[in-house]
Subunit: 352 residues, 4 copies
């Protein structure tokens, strides 16, 4: 491989909302290039331009526009696969690809809680990728699987990580106001959300508890011991395009002042600073001092959508502290998260 | 007074959002009729139709349309006054009217926490109106003042009231998603809220703690001993026209099952059932069993905007129970609340 | 039939958006009552409450909530049928019901342009129902079919009708800004319309030309000679829940002043004033003099959703006059239109 | 001046919506740098960060954040001034600056129709800047004034320009659906526009006729002979953040096929191709072949907000052709337009 050759990657579920985001974010990626795409059967053989209802705000990258959709079969697929599949389909398809020797970087919920599948946010728990070595796929074919968390958890886990390390966290109260893009396309009917709030997102509250625990947990021999905090969450859908806003209260194990908390956020750089990952934001967590921020419409693009914004830190009369957190649900919370995972794996030598 | 004669009432701040709602709700009221209106100086002498930027969805009632705006002076004003003023103006004007012998039914925050001014939701604490007898205005001129709470508190207090009585409440976590109409007109700029969430409403979180305590408090000799629960709240503005949605968790003093809580809500009729108040809803609290309800766009008109909707009762891993609550912020949370207070006062003989 | 007995009616497509509106509007109808409902096969045998995703703002009428969904078969169906079906399904099902002796009052586009099927807005062309006598179904079984127009045409045709009669219309330019409810449920994905305009609605521009011509056309022996004006339209979808707003310019055959046009609208009562139809609005067309009206959020409920609002009449530098028109797309433009057609048929003796 | 020294520029009205956009767009400009800012008196002496309610989606450029606001006085101001003032203020202040020797590049409507003030879109009528030589300010002090058009006109004029040149235009029908950002901040109250359409924007329709005529007019000795087409427009406000969408019909003087029109748009490069202006888009007009485009949410950023999108070209039954046009109202329609004018003036040697 010459110095400038990029690693060819494939995308499963390439025509959906997260698949489109993958293609957009990979357009000028220095390490990877989209070489293979697959979607549902009815798209097979069409060009991407014909098959996808493209909803991104930048044009379809020219190379991908004319790429033909392949059958979702590991034969002929590249060795690095981004998977943007619904959980039901992922449950069958992702093991098939991992078993055939592919590195499957998945955004689906299907295997997130599987004991040998790492659930990773590189800044927080890059070390969890060692679980890969325990995977049966790895042993058989060299293939493996890595996942990122639910979009409502990603920003929360990042905001908690430095506090968890510095002070310990005992309890978390989190109420989400989630963007419509989190439900994909066609997703939320406009009749349901225009001028409205929907106080229910299926399975979301359950995922928040278990995934946050695994992300902030400790790697043991062949599995992760989850963090021992309690999370209670309420998940709501609001009329916002991109960006999950969360009202969060926390109880710490060790006392901390507002200054200490803000410093912990500001100083946080995470476990990947020495790796120079192209998609890692310079500042993973930005604390905004303005009294009415962060706001999705204004702050979501910070760090190209990879920086989590916190604001309004103030005492909580029930737990210790309360604050507002915002993260970009389809970049930091989905495609960008997976991309960063892939960069970590590459940097750590997992792509051969 | 003949059987059909209605009590003439005046409206201070008649051209604002809450003032308009008063005029709309009073259009066909069996007991009261709008006889006098006042607003800021620049409206003086104009007809209501000329002066008001009418934003209600029903036409201006004909009688009021041609009514001329008076100066905001107790001379010539009726004895019953609904006040829909900004707090700064209310602070001066409401005592002037009460001191001149008027019954001031106020929606402003200016005197809510004044020890001798009752803060009333008739179903919850109708007995608090006895505080009136301690008011200096009452002693001097016969005038007095009664207030209703902030729009974010009203629905919360109603949802808590039957549980507080039956089981005792120790702690409350509440995150609001509040409608734009709560900020009046012009209020929230569209650039701030379209497709957005604003995680800050000035003074709102402070009001939630103190007003809920007073509403659910106990009447002592000359003041109210506040309820002893702790409230922690986060207040957010969302792109909803009418209807504040709240994600609420509670810790009870005495254990209760979901069935017992729902029964407490459903059986609740409040302290005014025997008074036949025209604006009192048949059902003050409706528990909606559908998994994704209540929603502002669909459920806000229940009980003509006077019924509070609860839904999604489920265990909270941190406190005891969590649920969603919805109430109409400009009816149950403002003009309708004041109107119900006036009906209570009339029924109790305070209007002579 | 005793004095108070109501005519039993059936609803085809009862669970969809228009079907729901039928059920809502019929709840307290003095002449009709819902006795039979049908929807797609997967709903068969369920109660309405179980089968429908009810999206109206009033609760499901109690009687209908427990009604079981029947198979869509004329056997066992009442003789009066409201049809709220997609065009493809209507094309097969409506003739089956008409052929079996039912009066089919259809909201679908399937047979609107059929030469023997009247396309009716009672105030405009009640006389067109005579076409029924030419229908083959009528001759065979007594059954027949009557339709109402597309939701984008209804308000336009009403606004044009008095001008067409008084002055003649030569040309119409109409640009629509249509509400999301016009596309049914789930209909428009929120990702497509939140903070957006979609400048395309399939087949809508074509329908506007042909349906307006038939509505304002002249009844001949066995068919309608369409009005001879030219319509050019642009159809757009906007983020509005209910209410189609249209920017309209017109060229008249005979000169008219603004006063004459407004008078023609205000004086218009239509062809049904002597019939006392319960759902006919007192004022079919309301001219609003305020400079920034009509607006969907504020004016859509006028006349219980059956009154069309016009405003901003001013000279057009290209044609003669321009103005804004607003009508409620799921009441005046769909279910309410069909209901008014049914009332006309009843009053004219077509229901036996 | 060394090769890399940038021209210092000042901004009048720096804290408003258009002023903010100027500051954002100038952040990395190769020719200009913000050296001086002024706003209303109450901001005087504050830093920009303190004074501005910054509503852009990128952070305040660091250099500007700490810049202090000056009094709006030509003394001490740079020689190149971008003016983002309300018309009333502009009417007094812009001549003061031009009279004091400044080049005033104005976005206000105050002097757009002044016979000696060029109203310029560089791609269309760069030659009109010769009017500057006739300005009395120019003769006295060397200062001068150049303006850009209203945001609703800019995209329309660009879409018309190549057709006007190739085929001649006789008549235009245009209905706008304009974004809220066009009204500045606080601008449109959310209560007016959420889920709504407002069919009125003061003076907008008048500006469309006269400004489009001047933009596409012909430079004579000391003034511009306006183009002789007739425009009839309806202006509406919709719940869109950025991007004016317009439904347009046109009558040409010379017949043209759809292919010829699309080719005229696609081939259009304008009068500035040889000048290498940094902010000139590569493609001034993009024709989008997808049936439901352009849409503001998806297409507004094309060409960094400087490309106008057209779509849906189809025959008009009344005039000749109809299509949809979209342009970014605060970039191509305001700050970006003025910036491009400044680049033109620099390239043509007007900045000394």
């Amino acid at each position: 491989m010459t110095k400038t050759a990029k690693i060819p990657v494939g995308i499963l579920g390439a025509t959906g909302t997260v698949g489109q985001r993958f293609i957009q974010l990979l357009e000028q990626h220095p390490w990877f290039e989209v070489a293979w795409i697959a979607a549902s059967e009815r798209s097979f053989g069409k060009t991407y331009e014909e098959a996808a209802k493209w909803k991104m705000k930048t044009p379809i990258p020219k190379k991908v526009a004319s790429l033909k959709l392949s059958a979702a079969d590991p034969k002929g697929a590249p060795k690095v696969i981004f998977a943007a599949l619904d959980a039901d389909i992922a449950r069958e398809m992702e093991p098939a690809f991992a078993g055939a020797g592919c590195a499957v970087i998945s955004n689906s919920s299907a295997f997130r809680m599987h004991p040998q599948v790492p659930l990773v946010i590189p800044e927080i728990n890059a070390d969890h990728i060692k679980l890969i070595d325990s995977q049966s796929w790895r042993k058989q074919s060299g293939g493996f699987m890595v996942t990122n968390s639910n979009c409502s958890v990603m920003g929360l886990a990042l905001a908690l990580a430095p506090l968890h390390k510095a002070f310990g966290i005992e309890a978390i109260f989190a109420v989400t106001m989630q963007a419509i893009s989190g439900a994909g396309y066609p997703g939320v009917p406009s009749m349901d959300i225009l001028g409205n709030v929907v106080p229910f997102i299926r399975n979301e509250e359950e995922k928040m508890q278990e995934e946050a625990g695994k992300l902030l947990g400790t790697l043991k021999a062949h599995e992760v011991a989850p963090a021992d905090f309690v999370i209670s969450s309420h998940c709501n859908r609001v009329a916002v395009e991109d960006g999950h806003t969360e009202s969060i209260s926390i109880k710490l194990k060790k006392r901390a002042t507002a200054e200490e908390i803000i410093a912990a956020w500001r100083d946080f750089r995470g476990m990947v600073t020495d790796l120079n990952l192209p998609f890692a934001p310079e500042v993973p967590i930005f604390y905004d001092e303005r009294p009415d921020r962060p706001q999705p419409r204004l702050d979501i693009e910070r760090g190209h959508g990879m920086t989590v914004s916190c604001g309004r830190l103030r005492p909580c009369s029930l737990l210790d502290w309360k604050f507002t957190m915002l993260s970009h649900n389809t970049i930091r919370g989905a495609a960008g998260a997976a991309l960063l995972n892939a960069e970590l794996l590459k940097a750590k030598g997992y792509f051969g």
